[in-house]
């Protein structure tokens, strides 16, 4: 007896509430970003800021040796502590920068995080020493701790910033206690002490300072957490938009394939019969097959045009990924694509292409010029000439496509960019047009903010002048 085959069962649950919360994904993503690129930025920003503080300390220390100024301001002169603290800060700054660059090479976010926290903890100790020398009670220097508290509220979570605030409070209280019990003699930049070291004053003063710190921490960390929540929401929306865009692209790609592939197979098998691989066919059958082939190829082209139109219709100026393009090169590419049609129609292509650079989307530009030039060829009189000029223009880059063909009557010019619109003359002249080419051109022009001037005279010809705004020049 044959062994029973294994049954594989899988549940597909499409209910949206069971989908993983993408907000969490974004939180993880944002944290990951912070732990890598942003973290490095923050470390270097701290180091740069510390150089400024060091410069201020050195400047203050040097100024103290200009006795006249300091005496005038009732400040103590000939101070050495700013140099000592600046020296320590210089050494630490160099160490932090070296460590950060080494951690960056090893891509260790854990090391970078250690670097960041060590900087904060040591900075606060250095700041406490500065506060002690400047005057912990008789100056407002103790409020400089607020810089660190506010920064930690912006960069870290509420708990982490609270820890920074508590740590700052401990340092200040320790400094004041050591000064009060006399282990460290109280100091000040003022020559005359404004306060007597009374315990009540110290307690009231300290309570007021710490209260202000904690209120600032509460407000800033609350606002910061709101901003962070908004960031998460934006990130989530952005992520969803990206996913939708990607799904749409994949869908259009698959749709094009599914619609075009059958026509390619029909066309291939028609060619097979036409080439006699299935025996000799009557002349009438050959003619009919030719018609079937032509219609199937046309249908394939219409599908391609419809999908192109749908694609450009959904594009916006903001979505456009512009790149510096040489219009002459783009037009040459388009001319190569339409050359077989021109030869078939007996149309001569005359070109004068000046190299002009613009910021635009390459695919869009190819769609635009392929359609305009192929229209000029298809609606030309037999053996006529189509002129394509590209110039830097004055003041704007301009592409001119001029044909000598059936032309368009004035009352119909306004409608030529409408979807599926074809003039009776155009249908009579070229049965294969689908009325989508100029609709695609219109949408490409809209998203690139181009101007198109159309001048035409029935039975004489049409002139399309495409003007590029200065906003698309690479210098802007």
């Amino acid at each position: 007896m044959a062994p029973a085959s294994e049954i594989h069962e899988q549940v597909f649950d499409f209910s949206p509430e069971l989908q993983p919360a993408s907000n969490d994904t974004c939180k993880i993503m944002l944290n990951a970003i912070l732990f890598n690129d942003l973290l490095v930025d923050h470390i270097y920003w701290y180091c740069r800021f510390r150089w400024i503080v060091i410069a201020v300390l050195l400047g203050f220390g040097l100024s103290s040796f200009v006795a006249e100024i300091f005496n005038y301001l009732d400040l103590r002169s000939n101070l050495y502590w700013p140099f000592c603290i600046a020296g320590v800060a210089i050494v630490l700054n160099l160490l932090f920068m070296t460590h950060a660059s080494l951690s960056l090479k090893s891509v260790s976010s854990k090391n970078l995080l250690k670097n960041m926290w060590t900087q904060i903890l040591l900075d606060l100790i250095i700041l406490t020493i500065v506060v002690h020398y400047v005057g912990s009670l008789n100056t407002v220097i103790s409020f400089s701790f607020l810089f660190h508290i506010v920064l930690s509220c912006i960069f870290f979570t509420r708990t982490q910033s609270l820890l920074v605030t508590i740590y700052s409070s401990i340092l200040l209280v320790t400094c004041l206690t050591l000064e009060f019990i006399g282990i460290v003699p109280a100091s000040s930049i003022y020559r005359y002490n404004m306060f007597s070291p009374d315990i009540h004053i110290i307690i009231i003063h300290t309570t007021m300072i710490l209260s202000i710190w904690f209120v600032v921490w509460y407000l800033v960390s609350y606002i910061s957490s709101l901003v962070r929540e908004r960031d998460y929401e934006l990130c989530t929306t952005n992520q969803r938009l990206k996913e939708t865009q990607e799904e749409k692209t994949q869908h259009l790609l698959r749709l094009t394939h599914e619609l075009k592939a059958p026509f390619a197979a029909i066309d291939a098998n028609i060619q097979l019969i036409q080439k006699g691989h299935c025996g000799v066919l009557p002349d009438k059958a050959i003619v009919l097959l030719e018609r079937v082939g032509a219609r199937s190829r046309k249908l394939g082209e219409v599908i391609q045009a419809m999908l192109q139109l749908e694609n450009v219709q959904k594009m916006t100026t903001e979505m456009l990924k512009g790149e510096s393009l040489d219009l002459a090169e783009i037009i040459k590419w388009c001319l190569a694509q339409v050359q077989p049609t021109a030869e078939k129609q007996g149309v001569k292509l005359e070109t004068n292409l000046e190299s002009v650079h613009v910021n635009a989307n390459e695919d869009c530009m190819k769609m635009l010029f392929s359609n305009v030039i192929s229209n000029a060829i298809l609606y030309s009189h037999p053996n006529a000439q189509v002129t394509v000029n590209c110039s830097a223009g004055n003041p704007h880059p301009t592409v001119l496509v001029e044909d000598h063909g059936i032309g368009i009557s004035p009352e119909k010019i306004g409608k030529i960019f409408d979807e599926y619109y074809r003039t009776d003359e155009a249908v009579t002249h070229n049965k294969n047009s689908n009325g989508l080419g100029l609709a695609i051109v219109k949408h490409v022009a809209q998203i690139h903010r181009l101007s198109i001037r159309v001048a035409s005279e029935p039975k004489v010809g049409t002139k399309f002048e495409i003007l590029f705004p200065s906003s698309l020049s690479p210098s802007t």
Partner: protein
């Protein structure tokens, strides 16, 4: 007689292409999926691979196979490839010459479906001639 492998999931199209190429004097083998094409490539190395880009389970399986061939060992990595597909991932336009590069489309040439079989035969002959000159 040059040996050509057609890798395409569209049986109707690959049948017509194989018939045309066989009548032009080539030995042709058709593979309709990537795994069988991979094992056939090892069994007997073709002089040319005509490759579709999109397959049912993977929109860019053809490009991936082309890259695998180029990264393979021995003579297989120099096998000429002609990409023949209804669409490409650089939607919405067709291929252009600048698309042929080692990273994205490491192939000798490309053609878009529907294809004129006279053009296909010319391209195949050119690629095989160039490959022969290269080895001489």
């Amino acid at each position: 007689m040059a040996y050509i492998m057609i890798v395409d999931d569209d049986d109707d199209f690959s049948f017509a292409t194989a018939t045309i190429l066989e009548s032009a004097g080539y030995e042709v083998r058709v593979e309709s999926n990537i795994p069988s094409a991979e094992s056939s490539l090892i069994t007997k190395q073709p002089d040319l691979v005509i490759l579709d880009a999109m397959f049912p389970e993977n929109n860019s399986a053809g490009f991936e196979l082309a890259r695998k061939i180029r990264q393979s060992d021995g003579k297989l990595k120099d096998t000429p490839i002609l990409m023949l597909t209804a669409v490409n991932s650089r939607f919405p336009l067709g291929f252009n010459d600048s698309d042929i590069d080692e990273a994205w489309m490491p192939v000798e040439d490309f053609l878009e479906k529907p294809v004129d079989f006279d053009i296909l035969k010319n391209r195949v002959a050119n690629i095989l001639r160039n490959a022969k000159n290269k080895t001489l």
